[in-house]
């Protein structure tokens, strides 16, 4: 079982991702939520055991690219998968070079989540 942190400024999207993870048959235990990168860093800093992070890119306060860089700067190697409308090659390349593990484009299906995340949890 894996604990997952979802970082997205849309509460609707956080709920859809949570539901889709379970629909995809992924073995999920606790799901933690954060509305931007700063909140996400706060959840990680609280010491919760997290095996996978799913993060949006386009968010207020601290976007997903800054969030990934901050997580890696803290020496945290938890897999981070970007789930984003920002599907452009250059943005994804920047996310990957910053330390992201993979990316999923919104809109997505539960099958696409399973395909991308099945090997990570």
């Amino acid at each position: 079982m894996a604990n997952i942190l979802i970082v997205d400024d849309s509460s609707t999207m956080r709920k859809i991702i949570s539901r889709s993870l379970r629909q995809a048959g992924l073995t999920v235990d606790e799901i933690y939520e954060a509305g931007d990168g700063i909140e996400g860093l706060g959840v990680i800093a609280s010491g919760k055991s997290i095996q996978l992070i799913l993060s949006d890119i386009n968010m207020p306060n601290m976007d997903g690219l800054e969030f990934v860089k901050a997580v890696r700067a803290n020496g945290n190697s938890t897999p981070i998968v970007m789930i984003t409308t920002e599907g452009g090659e250059e943005i994804i390349a920047e996310a990957m070079s910053s330390g992201a593990s993979d990316s999923i484009k919104k809109p997505f299906t539960p099958d696409q989540l399973q395909e991308k995340l099945g090997g990570l949890i």
Binding site: P60, T85, A93, T109
Partner: protein, 164 residues
């Protein structure tokens, strides 16, 4: 489906991007059929008992993608997205309509942008009310595509300008 960087987009091209993006979002994330009915017969700027979600983009192209739908349809859309009944205008409704504008805007951006870094998307803005008007003060090209969704009419508009 990539636009030339040197040639202005035609109305048919822009409406095609809007239709493809809207269909993809509704079929994948909302599980509702949308039927496009382009072109719009008459311009619409006044909305009653409706909700409007907007996302701006800036860079190589600038503009706004906007989604206008009656509250009754927005409640069904939100219920489908969340998997629970939604029967009032609240934060869930605003967030859902904003996220749809965000996803449609992201898909359109992917067509307009070379790699993603030359066009920036804004955070969504949502307005709703009993009676309001939405006007663009720019002279940018504007395409509005009407969609029929379960006997309701939803409008998806895109104002667009290629920057020099």
């Amino acid at each position: 489906m990539s636009p030339s960087s040197d040639i202005s987009l035609t109305e048919e091209q822009v409406s095609g991007y809007v239709i493809a993006a809207t269909r993809e979002v509704f079929s994948t994330m909302i599980m509702m059929d949308v039927v496009d009915d382009f072109p719009l017969k008459e311009p619409v700027s006044r909305f009653k008992c409706s909700i409007t979600g907007m996302v701006g983009f800036a860079g190589t192209y600038s503009g706004v993608i906007s989604i206008h739908c009656p509250v009754s349809l927005a409640l069904k859309i939100t219920s489908n997205m969340l998997g629970v009944d939604c029967d009032e205008v609240n934060e869930d409704l605003n967030d859902a309509i904003g996220e749809i504008a965000n996803m449609v805007g992201g898909s359109v951006k992917q067509v307009l942008s070379k790699g993603g870094l030359d066009v920036k998307l804004s955070i969504p803005t949502v307005i709703s009310g009993e009676d309001y008007t939405v006007n663009s003060l720019s002279d940018n090209d504007c395409v509005v595509v009407p969609f029929t969704v379960e006997d309701h009419t939803m409008l998806v508009g895109l104002t667009l300008k290629k920057e020099d």
